[in-house]
Amino acid sequence: MTLALWLCFMWNSATPTERWQQGNEAYQQEQWTQAVNHYEAILSAGGGNGKVHFNLGNAYFKNENLGKAILHYYRAQRYLPGDPDINNNLEIANQTRVDPIIENEDEAFLEHINFIWQRLPYPVVFWSGLVALLLAGAASMLIIARPHSGKWVGYVLVVTALSGLFLMGTAFLQHRQLVREDFAVILAEEVAVLAGPQTREQVNFELHEGIRCLILDETPGWYRIRLANGHNGWVPQSALERI
């Protein structure tokens, strides 16, 4: 009994760094469940970062829990946008899904129009934008106060103003994606999407784990979701988890 309590205490008293190392060791020894437990313990203690979510996603993937794996890859992306490992594993996990539904079309479009969208983290975009705008402001004031300051001030103004505005637009788009909490991932292996928030409602279609969806509405015990292709319906809250 004492030993059990001591072990329990030791288990709970481990620091996040120890948990991290234990999780990594368990993963390397292909003990996927234990790796999941260690990584989850870091998160349940209130901590977490992109690395933890990524490794946890990998452990879940190896443990054949596809829904959880995709959920944690998406969470890792929030911390480490543009990380090639996360993007790669998320793509692999998405290919493994049962439902071949196209992912969020908005983001696909954004990736096309904004080449730094997935490459620069938000703080870098924000602060670069701020510096560029301030430089543009200083250059513009110099031009107004001393119109004959030279061509280079004009070049600085144009370059910094354009980059500042571009970065500002990018920051708005990135921030919108970062703060929105209405994206979720289906965790149930298979779930019927109903026409209404009651079990007797007609089944619109069925979904399988790993699909990302948008939460449109909420009622006790139920979420109304929409997929990227526009299909929508109601699912039990237990079938999904917010990203």
């Binding site: 996040p16 760094t17 991290w20 990594n24 993963y27 870091i42 209130g46 901590g47 977490g48 970062n49 690395k51 933890v52 990524f54 490794n55 990998n58 452990a59 993937f61 929030r78 911390y79 090639p84 490992d85 996360i86 790669n88 594993n89 692999i92 290919q95 493994t96 049962v98 439902d99 071949p100 196209i102 938000y122 703080p123 924000f126 934008g129 701020l130 705008l133 301030l134 543009a136 402001g137 513009s140 004031m141 107004i144 106060a145 500042g164 505005l165 970065l167 500002m168 920051a171 708005f172 921030h175 970062l178 703060v179 007609q202 619109n204």
Partner: protein, 592 residues
């Protein structure tokens, strides 16, 4: 030389045309005519011998249709696309029906070059006399005024719309083709600009847009010939059983008679008929256990990319579903039954092919890695569906593909690695490894700074720019105004200079005071101060008739200034400033 080249080129071009086999198509239209109308028999010859009309070795047999003219109307077109020359010759024969009823236009044997071609016999419905709306008359010629006036026939055009489905009863999930057509009398045209169409809501139906171009046809209705434009086509799939009323489609059409630029346009509103559709449930009898709401007629086939491979290598199995029906219900196949002999990697997103705007083919590619050597059988999955034409459930045929697996390198633990195409097909092999090293910070992620700050900074910068610009502009305007009104501000400027002189001593003070006094007069007369002297001031006062006492005060002040400068000491500064101020003030009053 140039002519010779042209002749050679022409010869080569003609030879190219001759070298190609002619393609002959024959068409009879329309299939429904009035007794007073004509039927067209058209022979099109692609890349045929030029200038030679086709012959009828067995003679032309029009059946109950009479040939109007013995010689056909001909047309000839040549085109060059990517260097390839092609020509199309058309020969059109016009025939008139002799009696009403359903007649057969017989098969015709046509000889083109050395070859003969036969058309198929065509059934043509001949109805009552068809009333055609007469074409709008052209603008009258001025000479017609001198001729006999013929009363004009009133032209009455018609336009109406229809929404049609082939039947009114369908099964759940069955494809319901819906067409929305506009019927118009000949000569009445619809202008795309200003025309619109409001489709009804197809609630409770899954709707697919049949993506093909608008097409035209002609039909006879109530003994009148109409041109029909099919403006929209949809494929509906009912989700539920029951009776559904589909509301009419509303059209707002901008129509005009003829195509003249000056033709009057008119906007008309038209509504199609509403539709009533009865959706029946699928029968329970004979429903297969694996039935997954698939309705239509489908076939399934499989293709392998190779017939022979080594253990550990992969092969691609392509599963293709073809047919017509609700393809959205055709899902990815579970090939679990093959796992005993193969490692299976899923097909991912399927590829779809369309024909005439509808999905007719859906395919998946699976990667299979055989586990055992020898001849391996790959049984294709089977697909169960309800065939609404035959009103029965059907299942695709049992099919099997064979692959020869040669022995490969097998490592311990049964893991196969020989010649595996890494990074191509086996998804898990490409999984990036976990992140190692330090954990880093696990603090809760701080709330990201709002990008509104950037917008606010931009706004603040713009406002600062604006204020700076306004401030500098005002300042420049003030300076310019003072420059333009030196005389008015001379005394004020003098006082400013006196204020600055209070803090100066020595030579700077005396020189500054003298300069201030002379600058006053310079400003007054808009002249540079360097040219001003007491003599100049006196002359100017005398010329202007000013009181010379003011001048005297200034002269005395200058004299006192010189004395103080000569004597040195600082005690005379304040009285000098006061004296100069009084003298200049006096001058200001006098000169005002």
């Amino acid at each position: 030389m140039t002519s010779a080249k042209h002749i050679l080129w022409l010869g080569l071009w003609t030879a190219t045309l001759w070298a190609q086999d002619p393609k002959v198509t024959m068409n009879v239209s329309p299939r429904e005519v009035g007794i007073n109308e004509t039927v067209k028999f058209e022979i099109s010859i692609t890349n045929g011998p030029s200038g030679r009309a086709p012959t009828f070795p067995n003679g032309f047999d029009g059946g109950t249709f009479k040939l109007i003219q013995s010689q056909p109307s001909t047309s000839f077109q040549t085109s060059i696309v990517n260097g390839a020359v092609s020509s199309v010759q058309s020969y059109t024969y016009y025939l008139r029906p002799q009696a009403k009823g359903r007649h057969t236009f017989p098969s015709q044997t046509v000889q083109v070059g050395d070859k003969t071609y036969a058309s198929t016999a065509v059934k043509i419905n001949v109805g009552d006399q068809v009333t055609n709306v007469p074409q709008a008359r052209r603008r009258a010629s001025p000479w017609e005024s001198f001729g006999e006036q013929v009363p004009r026939e009133r032209v009455q055009h018609e336009i109406f719309t229809e929404m049609v489905t082939p039947r009114t009863e369908y099964y759940v999930g069955e494809a319901i083709p819906l067409s929305i057509k506009v019927f118009r009398t000949q000569g009445l045209n619809i202008n795309g600009n200003g025309s619109s169409m409001d489709l009804p809501d197809f609630t409770d139906f899954w709707v697919e847009d049949i993506d093909r171009e608008t097409w035209q046809d002609t039909v006879i209705r109530d003994n009148k010939r109409y041109q029909v434009d099919t403006l929209a086509e949809r494929m509906l799939y009912a989700n539920k059983t029951g009776t559904y009323d589909i509301k009419p489609t509303r059209f707002n059409l901008n129509v005009q008679v003829g195509r003249s630029f000056f033709a009057n346009q008119q906007s008309v509103e038209r509504f199609t008929n509403p539709l009533k559709l009865v959706i029946k449930p699928l029968p329970d009898q004979g429903k297969p256990a694996d039935f997954d709401n698939l309705v239509g007629a489908f076939t399934l086939k499989g293709e392998l990319d190779k017939n022979e491979l080594k253990q550990g290598e992969s092969l691609s199995l392509k599963l293709i579903v073809e047919g017509n029906g609700n393809f959205t219900a055709v899902r990815d196949f579970a090939l679990d039954y093959l796992k005993r002999n193969f490692e299976i990697y899923p097909g991912g997103t399927p590829t779809t092919d369309k024909k005439e705007g509808l999905i007719v083919r859906k395919s998946w590619v699976y990667a299979l890695v055989p586990k055992n050597a020898g001849e391996q059988k790959i049984a294709l999955p089977r697909l169960s569906f309800f065939d609404p034409e035959k009103k029965t459930y059907r299942t695709t045929d049992e099919k099997e593909l064979t692959i020869q697996v040669l022995p490969g390198e097998v490592l311990g633990g049964g893991q196969l690695t020989s010649n595996r195409e890494r990074g191509k097909i086996v998804a898990e092999q490409n999984l990036s490894y976990i992140k190692l090293g330090d954990l880093g910070s696990v603090e809760a992620q701080p709330e990201p700074s709002s990008p509104l700050i950037l917008a606010q900074v931009t706004g603040a910068v713009l406002i600062a720019d604006l204020l700076l610009f306004l401030g500098l502009s005002l300042r420049r305007r003030g300076v310019a105004f003072q420059q333009a009104n030196r005389g008015r501000f001379a005394y004020k400027q003098f006082q400013k200079k006196l204020a600055t002189l209070k803090n100066t001593t020595g030579e700077a003070f005396y020189a500054g005071l003298q300069d201030a006094m002379l600058t006053f007069f310079g400003d007054k007369w808009d002249r540079p101060a360097q040219g001003i002297s007491l003599e100049v001031i006196r002359n100017a006062f005398e010329r202007a008739g000013h009181d010379l006492a003011a001048y005297e005060a200034v002269a005395e002040c200058v004299e006192a200034l010189e004395m103080a400068r000569f004597a040195g000491g600082e005690s005379a500064r304040e009285p000098l400033l006061e004296r100069a101020n009084k003298a200049i003030k006096h001058c200001e009053e006098v000169m005002a």
